[in-house]
Each structure stands twice: as C-alpha cells, then as structure tokens.
C-alpha cells in the first residue's frame, strides 16, 4: 500500500487482485480505469454487481447459476427431458451452450473426485444426479467431463452409480480437435483418437 493512495481505493485494488487472471499491478490498472469512468462505467458496474449478488442462486434442479429457483434451461419446455449432460462446473455448461448443439438439460457436479484434494462422492452432486435420472425417466446421461485423471475417475464412478437406473451412459469422444494437426498432438490424444476411429 502506498501512503498517497486513499485506503478505500487500496481496499478495492486488493479485492480486484483476488480475481482470476489479475495480479496487484493489473488490478491497480483496472481500478484506475474505473475511477476515470466513474459515471459511465464504475457506478453501473457496482449497481449490476450488487443486483446479481442479491439475486444469484444455484438452480435447485441442475446446479446451474441463475437468478430464480429454477434456471432458464431447466424451465424451458422446449428442452428434451430424456437427456442429461453432466458437467463439472458451470463454466463447462456455458461452453456446451456456446456450441449450441445440445438441446437437453444439464447437471452440474460442482467438481470431480480427487484423492489428492480429498473430494469424495458425497461432496459432489452425485446423489442428486442418481435421484434425478431415476425420477425424471431419463434415457441417456452424457458425461461431458474433463479428459483428466480426476475427470475419468469421476466418469467411471458415475457409470457404475447410474447402472441400476437403466439409463444409457455415454461420454464425449476424445481425439483430434477441429483444425488440429496430427504432428502437434500429444501421444495420448492420438491414441484416444485411434481407439475412437469410425468408419467413413
């Protein structure tokens, strides 16, 4: 903290520096940018943040973040009810929605099983998923989890936990990304792509 900067502004800089991607220097720049646009940007931003902080809540059905008890996706009657896409975080749900190809509903786990971090099935929204699949007559559960050891461990656990519901459990394919060049791919991705090859 410098002696010349008011305490309130230093407190704001310290809070901004806790955001992902921002350090103390970039937070200071962002705060200075806001201070030079107090009327046009800073006040509306503060009001919007206060409104969202009051209204934001987790969807009671899927765990998505919304501003009502049921999120817009779960409340949308045009969405297919027989398919649930399971994702790790809300950011993954947003990524799937950006692609615009999935018209079913979602279930946000809130993380993945991790022996390293002590995350067990009970700390995730896995029991809620099993109940939901059984109660809503879901026919297919699509596991859209990260291709990491934790993601794969969670996927195998879910496949076994959902076996008794009778729903078909599938997972996203792994392989060559759109625009990818084989020469730049790692061995694991090439191996997964080869195992998941399809007839032309």
């Amino acid at each position: 903290m410098t002696d010349r900067t008011p305490r309130e502004i230093e407190a704001l800089i310290a809070l901004m520096a806790r955001l992902p991607g921002l350090g103390p220097r970039s937070a200071r720049r962002a705060v200075l940018h806001l201070l030079t646009r107090r009327e046009g940007l800073m006040a509306p931003l503060a009001q919007a943040m206060a409104r969202v902080a009051l209204a934001a809540r987790d969807c009671a059905v899927c765990g998505n973040i919304g501003t009502s008890e049921i999120c817009p996706i779960c409340a949308d009657p045009a969405r297919a009810t027989a398919e649930i896409c399971v994702v790790e975080q809300v950011s993954d749900l947003w990524a799937m929605e950006r692609a615009g190809v999935f018209r079913g509903r979602y279930h946000v786990l809130g993380g993945t099983l991790s022996a390293l971090d002590g995350v067990t099935p009970d700390s995730l929204r896995i029991p809620a998923l099993v109940d939901r699949v059984a109660a809503e007559g879901v026919t297919e559960v699509i596991l859209a989890l990260n291709a990491t050891v934790e993601g794969a461990t969670t996927a195998h656990y879910l496949a076994e936990a959902l076996a008794e519901t009778g729903a078909s459990v599938t997972s996203l394919a792994q392989g060559v990304p759109v625009g990818g060049e084989l020469d730049y791919l790692d061995d694991g991705t090439i191996g997964a792509a080869l195992r998941a090859r399809r007839r032309m």
Partner: protein, 242 residues
Amino acid sequence: MDWRDEGIVIAARRHGETAAIVEVLTPAHGRHAGVVRGGASRRMAAVLIPGTQVAVAWQARLGAHLGHFTLEPAQSRAGLMADATALAVLNSVCALLRACLPERDPHPDLYAATRALLDGAWPDGAAWGLAYLRWELGLLAGLGFGLDLTACAVTGARHDLAYVSPRTGRAVARGAAGEWADRLLPLPACLLGAAEADAAGLAQGLAITGHFLARETGEAAGLRPLPEARARLVERLARPIR
C-alpha cells in the same frame, strides 16, 4: 545443481497463475518435486497427467531448494484412463508413492516395478489386481518392510503356508499356527503363486499389505490414513471378478 533422469509423473498441482509443482518418480533420485514454469498451460496439460513417462531435467541453485523441472514427454499412459480398474490402480499407485515414499530417496527397483505395472498387458481385473498386489509387496520391500513368505517363521517348513504374522511379516504354516491362528493374517494362495487370483484371494492379500502399509504410514498410530484412492481400488477388486 542440476541433473537429468527419466521419470513418471505422480502428481501435479497449480502454483500461482501459470506454473505447477510436479512430483515425479525417478530411478536415481526417487520421488522428487520441482516447479514447472508454464505448467498450468494447455500445452503442458497432457504431459502433467499422472502416469506420463517423461525425460526430466532438474535445476536449482542449491540442492536443498525445490528447483525447476524441464519435462519432455516420452510416453503417454492416457490409455489407462479408459479402463476403470487400470485407472483405479494408477490412482492408488500415485497416492501411495506420495504417502509412503520419502522424497529424494532413490528406489530403482520400485521405479522399475512401477513401470512394469503400468506398462503390463494385464488382460482383466484379476490380472491387474494380482500385478498391483505384487507391486505393493515391492513397495513394502523398498520401504524396508519386506514380507518373508518363503518359509514358516516357527518351523522353517516351506509347504502348507497359510498365515502371515502381523508383527513380523513372516509366513506361518497351518500346522504351526495353533491357538494363534485367529490373530494371524490369512495368506492367500495367489501370493504364493500357487493359484489364480480371485476376489477373495486379492482381498486377503491386500489386507496383508494394507496392514503393513498402514503401520508404515502411521495410520495404526492415528497419524495419517492410507490414501482414499487405495480404499477405492480395494473396494473395486473385492467385487466378483468379471
């Protein structure tokens, strides 16, 4: 200070915005940690998956420092993630190495056994289970708690071995157990190479290694439990073999 070696990635966690602290198992430098600059990048994500075989270069100003790693991928083991039992084995191996093995203590035999386990062409869950059980015996031997299953601790007999002493880790023949039989650990035939592994035999074998590993990591003294990943693997292997 610097050295070069080969290694297996056993853990990685983010360090700040862009770096990662990575632990590798190497033949000449044992379990060793270091900072990987840019380790949080997407380019490095596939390299830092546990199980990946890497070429390691370590550099630090002093030997006591954490130091920096430069890692080059040598062999991906991402294929293990497709099989639930193989993945459970990988998780348990990495967790046990982190829990039990002292840092920077070379264990070339354990390194070789770990490579052999992860690269083995194990056809089914029973084969994976037996290979893993033998790896845990190797881990105990590497830690200085090797079991002696060659002869009876009481009579010296080499046949009809049916128990293991929970205190000494030595085998005991059925006839020599007498009234202490209920206090000894049952020794499955699969550990003696006399039978195929089945769920019951694997459970008995893992109970033996678990007993001594728990003693080694201090669980018995209430200090630190065995890793959750091992408990999940034991639970998986206890199911009827498919």
